[in-house]
Amino acid sequence: MASLEPPAAVTPPSSKPNLLPLPSPTIITPSAAALAAVAPTTSSSSPATLSVATPLPTPSDAELVHIPSYSRWFSLDGISECEIRCLPEFFDSRSPSRNPRAYKYIRDSIIKQFRRNPSSKITFTEVRKTLAADVISIRRVFDFLDAWGLINYSPAALSKPLKWEEKDSKTSQHAADSPAGPSSDSTPPVRETTKWLCGSCKSVCSIACFASDKCDLTLCARCFVRGNYRVGLSSSDFRRVEISDEMKTDWTEKETMQLLEAVMHYGDDWKKVAQHVGGRSEKDCITHFIKLPMGEKLAGSAEFGSGINKLNQMKDDNSSNSSSSGKRLCLSPLADASNPIMAQAAFLSALAGTAVAEAAAQAAVTAVSKVGHGEANAHFRSLHGVQGLQNASITSNGSNKLKSSEEARSGVNTMPEEKVNVEEELRTVAMVQMKHIQEKIIHFEEIDSQIDKEWKQMEQMRDILFYDQLNLLKHERSIRKTGQQAAEGTRAG
């Protein structure tokens, strides 16, 4: 017994009750339960009748064989137009072995074999072992039957709504002139705007798809190239649809945190950053990082390359509670400072929590005390690593000093006093920065003088060498002269 499924999203009256006379050996009248009617059911008086089954066939009806509605033309009695069109080699009497009789024999045996066990999929190799015919003919017929859902068709397999399925459910109504794809039966047509599913290989299209408006088909790039589309379509009917990855998702908080962590660890190695974030390409990471609210500040203070590292260090140290809004708030008082130093300082102060600063201060107090003009070289070598700590220590020192002074005055911190404290801290931070720059300048000057000295030395060396060269030449010439004289002398004498 075969039954049809109604195409989804189609009004019931249009689906006619189709009688597929299937003189199969086992005829079982369908139980009443199976006839959840969308269309009027047919009586079971005639030996081969059809009924419209429920979208989800009950497992008790093991004898029911389902074929899709667009294959309703099929009949085991004869050969229909569709078959002649799709498999012309059997009907054009070009080859003696391919004739309608052979085709019918192959087709019927394949179908019978499948129907003996309709729940399991039958493979081509099983079929060809049992048929006395050449394997290519068998394969063609098998592919044809498979494509039209006459074999290996089980509704349970089609639970995913494919994009082109919904479109086809409307077109499959009309005669099977243009072969359509399988229509979804049970699930309502859900339009997924973000995902494209290929109609033939049923995989998610990621890079680019090819959509055909002529036949409402969507194919992934691979199927398109392979030519896996139906008869009647050509490659020109397809247009390319690009899918960009950015459209898919936005950056979540977690991903942003991962990105910042990664940047802090790997700095400029965007490959590793992309790896760390997971799921984002390098370009995505870079663009998103730039777009982050503090990105501009960081881009502005480019000379403080190390500053970025320490900045991120602090960011990392802070819990994720420090949301971007908090950062913005703290930035506002000095955000429009023309001096980039001030802006950076303001930023640092906003981020450095007192606890962090105190911990860093313990380690860095000694280093700070060592800072002096005499120790400039040693200091600057470890500048990059320590700078962050120093800043933190300075601020912490500043804040500690302030705190102690506050405590001396009064035990309670009120809001305006805190503001004053913050400003004091900012001033000290700025002073420290300026000191750093001064020291740097001094350091560079020293290097400069060293280079000058070496340059002078090199020049002296050059001069010496030149003198040596001259001497050698002179010597050579004089020897030659004496040699010639001696030679002349011997010749004469």
């Binding site: 080859s95 493979t123 049992t130 048929l131 003919s137 394969r139």
Partner: protein
């Protein structure tokens, strides 16, 4: 269709399978990494070669064989097809050629032994039809037997065709030397029936002698599992 040559059967004919369909028997016996794959089927020569790789891939996927099989299968098919094609341009001698075909094969649990005569000259013959009728008449249930029988017939016809090509070549060379007389093909004057008689040393009637009945009777045996296993192990030992 080709008319049956009756008297002027000495004229050589282009090589082809002496059946209504020019199908080539292909036998596969591939071993990869200890896995052995044996198969036999018929291939239509007029199909493009692109089908070979498709078929090989399909078979490999359906049977869940490792990937190396696909290329091997395709290669094997290709070599056999080229071999067949190499014979195609040449001529073969046909004539009143009645050949004995012997069936001795085991398909799953069915063992078949049979012998019969086949008219090699009949280019309308159809081994597939024969196999179908054979299975129906003997009530063989295993659907794989039919194609196996057809394949066996085809294979033997193929070998005889190759032989006749060889003899044709010899005869051509020999013609340059002397007029050759070929034993089973020469006598034309008396007609087919008498040829048969001559062939089978029965001069008095066309009916077969009783003692030969057994030979020409089909024998079908259904084996049990153990017998099948025993036979399989014997077969595997033989070629090694």
């Amino acid at each position: 269709m080709k008319p049956l040559p009756s008297t002027s059967s000495k004229t050589p004919v282009k090589f082809r399978m002496p059946t209504s369909e020019n199908l080539v028997p292909i036998r596969l016996d591939i071993e990869v990494d200890g896995q052995r794959f044996k198969d036999a089927f018929t291939w239509n020569l007029s199909d493009p070669d692109s089908e070979i790789s498709v078929f090989a891939k399909r078979t490999q996927k359906d049977l869940k064989l490792p990937l190396a099989f696909a290329t091997q299968i395709a290669q094997s098919i290709q070599t056999q097809l080229t071999e067949f094609r190499s014979y195609q341009g040449q001529e073969m001698l046909t004539g009143e050629k009645i050949v004995p075909i012997k069936l001795d094969l085991r398909v799953n649990h069915t063992l078949i032994k049979d012998q019969f005569l086949w008219d090699f000259n009949n280019f309308d013959s159809d081994p597939e039809e024969f196999a179908k009728t054979f299975c129906n008449d003997l009530g063989i249930e295993d659907p794989e037997v039919g194609p196996a029988v057809a394949f066996a017939i085809r294979e033997q016809l193929y070998e005889i065709a190759i032989q006749s090509v060889a003899t044709a070549r010899e005869s051509r060379n020999a013609k340059k030397g002397r007029r050759g007389e070929y034993s089973s093909i020469s006598s034309r004057s008396t007609g087919a029936a008498l040829d048969l008689m001559k062939l089978f040393s029965n001069r008095y009637s066309v009916v077969r002698k009783r003692k030969e009945w057994d030979v020409y009777e089909p024998m079908v045996d259904i084996l049990s599992n153990e017998e099948v296993n025993a036979l399989e192990s014997m077969e595997e030992r033989k070629p090694r």
